[in-house]
């Protein structure tokens, strides 16, 4: 119990520290046009809170790196504004923006020792020598690299190089740290360990972190909020749980986690029922995405953990929405199993997660998949 309250107060202290020392990053109508068919970044507006851990998530080519480069000043805005604590920095070159940046391939200076790499931003700021020594020592301790200061980058493992890059990016206490897929080149175990470390460092330094990744799990693990990118536009912004539980578009629903998807065509957002094949399903008004409109295609999505499976219709609760299904495969995953389903006449791919103890199903069996209306979402396509 003491432990619990202690960790609570720690989080609280970290939160208040963060609120004090981070910088607010605001993007207003930010656009970057490389002269391709569509601008790489297309009229993005986003407010990142001081001290927040914001992740820009999206498929490759969706404009995440370009957005980061626009914030850092490595690319020139076509339109719009980048504001740091309310100050428009559009005209400032990178070295005057005082941001920390972590590149995917670390970008360590190969001809400098670990110490010189980490000291680099301090020397550029004409910091006194003993202060440099103190800061570099501190920050190498923070990333757990004490005793490696004389090594050259190439003498370190990938994970260690990433820690050096992280140390170098935070040693001058930047108010904003930009991280472009910093863990992309590492193997899975190392990624997990470094994710924890990045989280911890975020809490300790309290700067605003803008983190780019295409890995949804990484985004879910790390972020306070996620901005989901799609073709240069922001599809949806929100806390990880919110994006997962209340996707507004089919893109969001499919990008974060598995979904059973039923394409409905155009439906009115105020109907309290929708039809799919010869099924009729009840719709709760509060499960309808604000983006659903009668002139735009819609889809009904249900997460696998919201779907139950029964042997026949009579076992389905009367208030549930149901669809006939065939069992294609059964995956055993310890505490639960996943049924791979073919849904309806169209034999859509679907999944249901059921208890490991629940009644036995066999491959090829005709069953009924069902879910409560509150477990579904009506989203825009």
């Amino acid at each position: 119990m003491t432990q619990l309250s202690q960790s609570n107060s720690e989080t609280f202290a970290a939160a208040s520290l963060a609120a004090k020392s981070g910088t607010e990053v605001r993007l207003e109508g930010v656009t970057k046009d490389f002269g391709l068919a569509k601008p790489a970044v297309d009229d993005i507006t986003l407010r990142i809170e001081p001290g927040e851990f914001m992740t820009l998530l999206g498929p490759s080519g969706s404009g995440k790196t370009t957005t980061l480069n626009l914030i850092a000043g490595f690319e020139v805005l076509t339109k719009g504004q980048v504001l740091l604590n309310g100050q428009d920095v559009g005209a400032l070159p990178p070295h005057k923006r005082n941001l920390g940046m972590l590149f995917q391939n670390y970008a360590l200076f190969p001809h400098m020792s670990v110490y010189d790499n980490v000291a680099y931003p301090l020397r550029e700021r004409k910091t006194a020598k003993d202060e440099i020594q103190r800061r570099v020592g501190e920050v190498l301790e923070l990333v757990q690299l004490v005793g490696r200061d004389k090594h050259l980058p190439k003498q370190l493992s990938g994970g260690q190089q990433q820690r050096v890059a992280l140390a170098r990016a935070i040693v001058f206490n930047p108010k904003v740290l930009l991280l472009d897929e910093p863990l992309g080149a590492l193997d899975r175990n190392l990624r997990g360990a470094l994710q924890l470390e990045i989280r911890r460092i975020h809490r300790e330094v309290g700067s605003t972190f803008v983190f780019v990744t295409h890995d949804q799990d990484e985004a879910m693990n790390l972020s306070d909020r996620i901005a989901l990118f799609n073709e240069g536009e922001i599809e949806q912004v929100g806390a990880p749980e919110e994006l997962y539980a209340r996707p507004e578009t089919l893109f969001t629903a499919k990008f974060l986690g598995d979904s059973n998807v039923f394409h409905l065509g155009k439906v009115s957002p105020i109907d309290n029922a929708v039809a799919w094949e010869d099924e009729r399903w009840a719709v709760d008004a509060n499960t309808v995405s604000p983006k659903v409109a009668s002139d735009r295609g819609s889809a009904l999505v249900v997460r696998p953990e919201g779907v139950s499976v029964s042997k026949n219709r009579s076992e389905v609760p009367p208030d549930a929405n149901a669809v006939k299904a065939t069992i294609l495969d059964i995956e055993y995953l310890g505490s639960y199993r996943t049924l791979v389903l073919a849904l309806g006449d169209a034999r859509l791919n679907g999944r249901a997660r059921i208890d490991a103890q629940s009644s036995d199903f066999s491959l090829g069996e005709e069953v009924v998949a069902w879910w409560r209306p509150y477990r579904q979402r009506l989203v825009a396509e």
Binding site: A72, P94, H95, F103, N105, A107, L108, P110, H111, R168
Partner: protein, 290 residues
């Protein structure tokens, strides 16, 4: 129990691949080299020929002239070649191809043709001379002077500077420059603190290559220069083919070889353990971690 025997390893004969090249090099380069070095001590052996180099009043003058123009050519090609190689790494593939072709054309034309072109350009009342006259400059003479020879040598040597430089610069991760700027450097400082040190391998290779070749230049000084300002290679040739004084020619050749090797050794110890050729052949230069 049957013992499983490993297949016996065949003796490694891959070193045989070296034989043809080594035999050729030994036959046409090293044996004559050693022979001429041996002859330089005369019969009976003495250091007389070497002592004469320093006291005959002509050898040292020519040597210093050659060294001086080699140094000038080396530095000027660096100053011209570095920005050129840098732009090659920045250009689009098409422009890069064009820039590369421009560099390589001298390689494709015969040395004779190139030097006669210079002869026509630089001769008295030739195009270059007339441009100078147009501006009222009459006292700069290019034909049959060390200045003219050095200018022509610079042009001929430029590819030997550009190619190793390009190969080294192309291997430098440009993200490092962005990283340096992100960490607070102006673009100019980022260049000097990050890009320039990483390009030193290429610079050293270019310097060594151009310098050693310039020390042994023969055709250009022979065609564009005059006997009054000949270079060391001409002196060697003269002693060997006209005076048939093989001992003197051998001594001079050996002396130049030793001086050059000492200078190259010094350059290499500056740039790590890189030999001139390593970068030309091997593009595995520092690259960040990209």
């Amino acid at each position: 129990m049957t013992q499983l025997s490993l297949p016996r390893r065949a003796p490694n004969l891959s070193w045989l691949l070296l034989v043809p090249a080594v035999a050729l090099m030994a036959g046409v380069v090293y044996v004559p080299l050693i022979q001429s070095a041996v002859r330089s001590f005369g019969d009976p052996p003495s250091l007389q020929e070497y002592a004469d180099l320093f006291s005959d009043g002509i050898t040292m003058t020519v040597f210093w002239r050659t060294l001086g123009s080699a140094v000038v050519v080396t530095l000027v090609t660096l100053v011209l070649g570095y920005p050129y190689a840098y732009m090659m790494t920045r250009a689009s593939a098409r422009v890069r191809g064009l820039l590369m072709t421009v560099v390589l054309v001298p390689f494709w034309t015969s040395a004779m043709a190139r030097n006669f072109a210079w002869l026509i350009l630089l001769e008295r009342n030739g195009p270059v001379d007339r441009i100078f006259q147009f501006f009222g400059i009459h006292d700069v003479v290019f034909y049959q002077t060390t200045t003219g020879v050095t200018i022509a040598m610079t042009q001929v040597m430029l590819p030997f500077m550009v190619l190793p430089l390009y190969s080294a610069l192309a291997g430098i991760d440009r993200k490092l420059l962005l990283a340096a700027q992100g960490l607070g450097s102006t673009p100019v400082k980022a260049f000097w603190k990050v890009f320039w040190p990483l390009s030193k391998v290429g610079v050293m290779s270019g310097l060594v290559l151009v310098f050693t070749l310039s020390m042994g230049f023969y055709i250009t000084p022979a065609l564009l220069g005059s006997p009054q300002n000949s270079m060391i290679a001409q002196l060697i040739s003269q002693r060997a083919t006209q005076l048939l004084d093989f001992a003197a020619a051998g001594a001079l050749g050996t002396f130049v070889l030793i001086v050059t090797l000492v200078l190259v050794g010094m350059a290499n110890s500056q740039g790590g353990s890189i030999s001139a050729i390593s970068v030309v052949v091997n593009t595995d230069s520092p690259k960040g971690n990209g």
